[in-house]
Symmetry: C2
Subunit: 409 residues, 2 copies
Amino acid sequence: MVKASRRGFLALGGAAVAGAGVGGLTQRVLRAEQATTTSDRVAFYGARQGGIATAAQQRLAFAAYDMTATGAPALKTLLQTWTAAAAAMCAGRMVPGDNDNPAAPPADTGEAVGLPAANLTITIGFGPSLFDDRFGLAGKRPAALADLPRFPGDQLVAADSNGDLCIQACADDPVVAFHAIRNLARLGRGAAVMRWSQLGFGKATSTSAVQDTPRNLMGFKDGTRNIETADDGLMNEHVWVGGEGEQAWMRGGSYLVSRRIRMLIEAWDRDYLSDQEAVFGRQKVSGAPLGGSKEHEDPNFTAMKDGEPVIATDAHIRLAAHENNDGIRILRRGYSYTDGMFSESGELNAGLFFIAFQKDPRSQFVPLQRKLSANDALNEYIEHVGSGLYACPPGVSGPDDFWGSALFA
Amino acid sequence: MVKASRRGFLALGGAAVAGAGVGGLTQRVLRAEQATTTSDRVAFYGARQGGIATAAQQRLAFAAYDMTATGAPALKTLLQTWTAAAAAMCAGRMVPGDNDNPAAPPADTGEAVGLPAANLTITIGFGPSLFDDRFGLAGKRPAALADLPRFPGDQLVAADSNGDLCIQACADDPVVAFHAIRNLARLGRGAAVMRWSQLGFGKATSTSAVQDTPRNLMGFKDGTRNIETADDGLMNEHVWVGGEGEQAWMRGGSYLVSRRIRMLIEAWDRDYLSDQEAVFGRQKVSGAPLGGSKEHEDPNFTAMKDGEPVIATDAHIRLAAHENNDGIRILRRGYSYTDGMFSESGELNAGLFFIAFQKDPRSQFVPLQRKLSANDALNEYIEHVGSGLYACPPGVSGPDDFWGSALFA
């Protein structure tokens, strides 16, 4: 696209340079120093990536990218560039590079200037397709990164699923989260292209019993029995990859499964309160399990009333409970989404962008979802329309390290 | 849609009733009393509708609706129902009605239970099509509600434009804003259907020089010279409808123009900083007009350098400035949006959901947009893809009044 007014570039450039004494100085100031305190920054460097054990932030921007370049060097360069940019953004700074040269595009797109770091975390994952023959990584593919099977009822849209790479950006300010996926897309130009993206406007899943449990768009509290991310024992048992039979480069990482779950909101909203509660197995307002009185009490799956189980045999919490799944647990970290509506029907296009982290999807998400997809009473009101599976490497140790560096060792 | 587990309704209903002592009590509690203070509530009743002079909140959910019912009584009933629900939601309460009857769908969808009122405002507008022959209102159509002309470069999508009614829901929590348009859609069932909707994830336009000016997705501060909504003189001069030759029912109201403005983000991001600044006529980081040093100083449109104007002849702020438009001003109240990306191109589907309020679009938005659409340097980087025009009636005086009541007097 040729810009007509660029004909006046030299003269206008002069004017801009004359004014740059002020603008340039301002641009060199750290974004964070203008507006943030350290209390809203999540450390980027460390043994683990942020955005997994991090207490769930309010907003999400998620994107999948496909590589357009091939060869290990191109991938390595992209990961180095992305890592440096992510570290800066998580610290509340602009994307590093030329941000005040009038005769160049600014390195940072600028919409987050003046905004706080907002607890931004940027988490990368590698899809199964990254381990084909393009980057010489076929031998590094973890066994746990096995393509997800097709589940009963899946209505997956290919264009909204999978991808060579994913970025999960979570922050308490949605502009800060969007800025991250946009700037990584831009830095990837020539090497990677965005495949799909999803804004999550509301945190839908609690990751801590200390916080109030948020509600999903069905009006129910979500994540009451989620793994407490502050509990290292549970995280080590269920979420973090250890040393057992796994690719060495994934030790300290985790596997991310994303599912775009459309809610059939209009049908749900016509359902009786008692039926909605039976579907979940919980009271709607209090969040207490049926038959109980407090949100965080353990559900009583054996209680009977009038010859029927109080928590129905097809209730969501019964089917998903670790007590009924050989102790299987996953860390959920989902967000509500809306992408407008379907103009044919007038129905809202909205639901839950489900994200789960785990040590091995083959023994965690897959068996759970097999069971849920076959039996869950909730299936009448939801459709899985997008899916993703990604290996999230361990954290970046410091400025000389980069995401997935052990892949190239 | 028939729910299989509803077969067990009677037995489960009994269990739910048994548990309702707790759940029911909780549901009767005002949403606001659980979690909010009065400091985050905007008064719903008053001479003016909220959401116009209200200092711009952080998030937007906007929806247009088409009437499916005909006749004045159906419209009047809908407006009464919507008004009562809007008053409750703005006070941080649930949608009025049966919220704890196990044998009925809850009146409120529930996702905002426990959330604060978050300065929610709900603003209604009536589109030109409402004044056709369906509701007997043809004689009440204001002259100022004249269909917008086609502007050069318009790429309007009919399914994302216009509508019999619009609802602008603004709040500091996006779940609270979304909850409003969703519940009004639901209450409208049988009378109105949603035509299109738009989530605005980030406030993009300042309505007060006291607040920090937010940035749009081009990275520029937006609204620096906007009408100060706290200035009654300016609001009366430019925004509120007075008595002059106008339909009596619109006195104290305003006209809303919405434009979904897609930004060609990838092209913009490749542009030189000096050129970006020339397009707007401002420095990017500081927001100061070119040739100046402070954001809020008046631009100097006569300054020259090296024989060229410092602020280019096609710069956005020159073309839009009231000094250069016979004093014309509009109140802008826009939000950044993203709806994912275009899978063919990998480009982001994102931009500005522009909203402007004014006394008469024929003498305010229309001439301004004629000029901008023909000459603005920014046109190379934007496309208007949606449009709406709505007459927003005055405020609701109290619980016995309703939106647009004077239409039926």
